[in-house]
């Protein structure tokens, strides 16, 4: 199959820089997600891969083939858009079969067989004669997926394909997409602004911000060891402190945060200023070290747990508690091992 490489890809529209020096490698058969807030460049990256945009600088390679200047119709990619972009004047089957006019169906099957197989793959057997207008949002999404997969593309590109659907449907479709992707072992790039979705579905993901890549890694790595403050705050709830290293004993470092001294895992020699990240679940009342007294502001009941928002020393704090706290103040602490420390320049 295909490995996708972006090498120093930049894209500018006049004075506006949409992408700046993006380097990424998506491995053969991998489910790779680009995640970030709107305007971060993730969709531009996808469109550059598809050939709808040409990079101002840098190169896109499928395996070793340089794709600069190759029009979209010659790239062998399947694209699914947020709006699905089904052709309203064609039936479901005609939509799915459209790309088979230009590329032979794989494995020597006929066009009709290929269309039927794909409709079966997305659980839409027998719906071929319907018009896209007769389908629900989730069904349209699956038709768009089947249409993109029909010519057996080298790469599958999904641009926020779920964001027009409601939450429950999104989760079940997400599982279906993932199942199909791993069955076909097709190299897939998925664009979303939803970090929870990105963590759930990806083999690896890239967190993007401001036209650049902040961090690439497996979901657990990105969640547990965010490389930057931006990633720490964007991926999951997090408590983030800025501090200065003020000592250490070989086993732990001591970090001064707004006049309090935290005991944290040892930082590399020469590190001066650090960002400290502590997940809400790691703040517990029983932890003996790094105690802080939080002024409770609001509590949100989430079912399994209660999320408590509060303030400590001018910093916003998020806690996870089993019940709604009865007092205005809560004293909690965290073990040094539960904190993630990032060196700052």
């Amino acid at each position: 199959m295909t490995e996708l490489r972006l090498e120093g890809v930049s894209k500018a529209y006049g004075d506006t820089v949409a992408l700046e020096g993006v380097d990424l490698t998506v491995r053969d058969g991998e489910f790779f997600t680009l995640v970030g807030p709107s305007g971060c460049g993730k969709t531009t990256t996808l469109r550059t891969v598809a050939g709808f945009e040409e990079p101002t600088d840098g190169a896109v390679r499928f395996d070793s083939r340089e794709m600069t200047g190759v029009p979209p119709e010659q790239r062998d990619v399947g694209v699914v858009f947020q709006s699905y972009a089904l052709f309203p004047h064609m039936s479901v089957a005609e939509n799915v079969g459209y790309g088979l006019q230009f590329r032979e169906p794989p494995d020597g099957v006929t066009v009709d067989e290929r269309v039927a197989n794909l409709l079966e793959l997305v659980d839409l057997e027998g719906m071929g004669e319907r018009s896209p207008e007769q389908l629900s949002g989730g069904q349209r999404q699956r038709v768009a997926l089947a249409r993109a997969l029909a010519p057996a593309p080298d790469l599958l590109l999904l641009d926020e394909p779920m964001s027009a659907l409601d939450a429950q449907l999104r989760e079940s479709l997400r599982r279906q997409v993932k199942r199909i992707q791993s069955t076909l072992e097709i190299t897939t790039v998925y664009v979303t602004h939803d970090q929870a979705e990105a963590l759930a579905i990806s083999d690896r993901l890239a967190v993007m911000n401001d036209g650049g890549v902040e961090q690439v890694g497996r979901p657990q790595e990105v969640y547990r060891e965010p490389a930057t403050r931006f990633v720490a705050e964007f991926v999951g709830d997090n408590n983030v402190f800025e501090g200065e290293v003020c000592g250490g004993d070989g086993e732990y470092s001591r970090v001064d945060v707004d006049g309090e001294t935290f005991t944290l895992p040892t930082v590399p020699e020469g590190t001066d200023r650090v960002t400290v990240c502590v997940r809400p679940g790691a703040l517990s009342r029983s932890a003996e070290r790094n105690r802080l007294t939080v002024r409770v502001e609001t509590s949100e009941f989430l079912g399994e747990t209660v999320r408590v928002n509060g303030r400590w020393n001018g910093t916003d704090i998020v806690l996870q508690r089993p019940t709604v706290p009865e007092r205005d103040e809560l004293t909690v602490g965290f073990a040094p091992e539960d904190a993630h420390v990032v060196a700052r320049q």
Binding site: F52, P71, E73, S83, A85, P88, Y98, P153
Partner: protein, 595 residues
């Protein structure tokens, strides 16, 4: 394409024997015949005190009174008439043109607003159809509508026929008050326009804004005044301004119903051209075009200032119009019924009268009007106006117009939709034909292309009258193609073309497989409009056809009308049939009547 003929007219107005001169312009501006009391101002622009004194003197002489009058002779029904006695003020040709345009605008708004109210607030069978039909008058041939009004209000018209059953009449309505008939005819054209833009605004009012006002304590009446009216006003003003522009440039209706005694600028220009006074005609044309362009500019500025208004999400709920008998008898429903009757008289009356008038005369059913046409065709001499020649010319010009206007309109559409911000400018420029009158355009083509433009090297660029007519029709028609194609094109999700390309289609294949099928209905609807416009176009055609052989159905109608009304009405009915047929086409392809 548009600018050359208009430019030719401008050059004609300021060039005399090869030298540039403003003499023609000065002559017209200072002639009280054209500008009335204002001519004085143009002649001596600096003697401000003198002008103020004449205004003060005029104001001092105004008197207001109320008197009882008997508007229907023989009917003892006194009506109090507020009289505004003003000392005669000489308005001149331009003043009168503006005056009748203002009256027509008032009449159109008065007739159009109730229709907008009913269409926006009540549900009834045929509501959608009626709403769609409001575009129809726009492409009905003006001369045909004029003949329809003639067939209704004329001495042997249907109105007198109905009155005759009751033993009164006949009355010469048109001779009594031609201005009133002209104004009603203008309302026939423009009230639907006012209704259209107002309904569109009304339907885009978010019902939730009204509900919010109600929950904050406003009564239904207050909520209407505070929330709905401010959102409708821009649309009403737009409709009024457009109506004023169109009726300022009115031509066939005044020509057919009023003649030279009611001459507007356009009619007078036409008369000058027939008398071969080209320089005077060109000068008048320039002044008229400047005025109408200024008005159009004002309109476009206004429209763009309004376009930022938010589009409402929830359409207002519509009540059933006649849910049960009790409601049907409520004062409001009775008023609506009354309005409906007026609307039927104004809108259906003339067209029905046209058809009825073609098969009747003063005494009963007759086929002699059609027989006259047939006879003329079979026995008429070459110099006479032959019906079949007119029909054939109309059809040939119509098809030729399609061949020019459809590609032109589609290209303009594509450029407008694709070009983003620059597209707005292209859009405006492309819509200018609507602001330049057919008469002006006709003169430009006649003086320019038909008489020939000298080219370097002793060549002349010259076309025949027929080519020039097609040219004029195409310019008048292509905006309708653009208006029909653009919305479909801009609604196309660009991701659709991208999907097709990712699936392996070339840019050309994506155009053929995806874009074209999706805008096809707009192209066909635009083509039907273009055809209807060409069939009905009168202003430039009558100038370009002159006394020659390239006359069309509307021109034939006008020529017959000069002598005998019966055959003109019969010819008008044929015109109606052809126009109606092209609208059946629009309807069949599910064409959009909407902008």
């Amino acid at each position: 394409m548009l600018y050359v003929p208009v430019g030719v007219v401008f050059v004609n107005a300021v060039v005399d024997d090869g030298g540039a001169t403003l003499a023609f312009v000065r002559e017209v501006l200072t002639d009280p015949f054209y500008f009335g009391a204002l001519a004085d101002v143009f002649a001596e622009p600096l003697s401000v005190r003198h002008h103020l004194a004449s205004v003060a003197g005029w104001l001092a002489a105004v008197s207001v009174s109320v008197s009882l009058e008997y508007p229907l002779p023989g009917v003892p029904l006194p009506v109090p008439v507020p009289g505004l006695e003003t000392p005669g003020i000489r308005t001149g040709l331009f003043g009168f043109t503006a005056y009748q345009a203002a009256l027509s605008t008032v009449a159109s708004v008065a007739l159009g607003l109730p229709a907008a109210y009913i269409l926006a607030n009540y549900e009834f069978r045929g509501r959608q159809t009626l709403r769609s039909l409001t575009i129809l008058p726009f492409v009905l041939p003006g001369i045909m509508v004029a003949v329809g009004f003639y067939a209704m209000f004329g001495r042997t018209g249907t109105l007198n026929g109905l009155l005759g059953v009751g033993g009164v009449g006949p009355y010469p309505f048109i001779e009594w008050n031609p201005l009133a008939v002209v104004i009603v005819a203008h309302a026939f054209y423009n009230a639907p326009l006012v209704a259209r833009v107002t309904v569109a605004a009304w339907e885009s009012v978010d019902a939730r804004t009204v509900e919010t006002a109600r929950s904050l304590g406003a009564s239904p009446r207050r909520a209407f005044r505070d929330v709905i009216v401010p959102q409708l006003l821009p649309a009403i003003l737009t409709g009024a301004l457009l109506t004023f522009i169109f009726t300022f440039m009115t031509f066939p209706i005044v020509l057919a119903l009023g003649g030279l005694q009611l001459a507007t600028v356009e009619v007078w220009i036409y008369d000058r051209v027939r008398r071969l006074a080209y320089a005077e005609a060109a000068t008048l044309t320039v002044l008229e075009t400047l005025l109408s362009l200024a008005l159009t500019y004002a309109y476009l500025r206004y429209e763009s200032a309004q376009s930022g208004l938010a589009r409402g999400a929830g359409e207002p709920d519509r009540e059933p119009l006649f849910p049960d008998l009790r409601t049907a008898l409520s004062p409001r429903r009775v008023a609506i019924l009354g309005y409906g009757l007026v609307a039927v008289v104004v809108f259906v009356g003339p067209l029905a009268s046209l058809v009825a008038g073609s098969v009747t005369d003063g005494s009963g059913l007759t086929g002699r009007h059609y027989a006259f046409l047939l006879e003329r065709q079979l026995e008429g001499a070459d110099y006479q106006t032959l019906p079949w020649v007119a029909i054939r010319n109309s059809l040939v010009f119509g098809v030729a117009t399609l061949a020019v206007a459809v590609p032109m309109g589609v290209v303009v559409s594509v450029v407008t939709v694709r070009a983003g911000r620059g597209g707005a400018i292209v859009d405006t420029l492309a819509m200018l034909p609507l602001a330049v009158s057919g008469v002006v355009f006709g003169i430009g083509l006649l003086r320019g292309l038909v008489f020939g433009i000298p080219l370097p090297g002793g060549w002349r660029f010259q076309v025949t009258g027929a080519v020039a007519i097609v040219f004029a029709h195409a310019v008048a028609a292509y905006p309708f193609v653009t208006r029909n194609v653009s919305p479909l094109l801009s609604n196309l999700d660009p991701a659709m073309v991208e999907s097709a390309r990712a699936l392996g289609a070339t840019r050309y294949r994506a155009l053929r497989d995806v874009e074209l099928p999706l805008v096809a209905s707009g192209i066909v609807a635009g083509a039907a409009f273009a055809f209807a416009i060409s069939i009905g176009e009168f202003s430039s055609t009558v100038i370009l056809a002159g006394g020659g052989q390239s006359y069309t159905m509307p021109v034939a109608v006008e020529r017959y009308l000069g002598r005998r009304s019966g055959p003109a009405i019969a010819m008008g009915t044929v015109l109606l049939a052809v126009t109606a047929a092209s609208f059946v086409v629009v309807d069949r392809v599910g064409g959009r009547f909407e902008r």
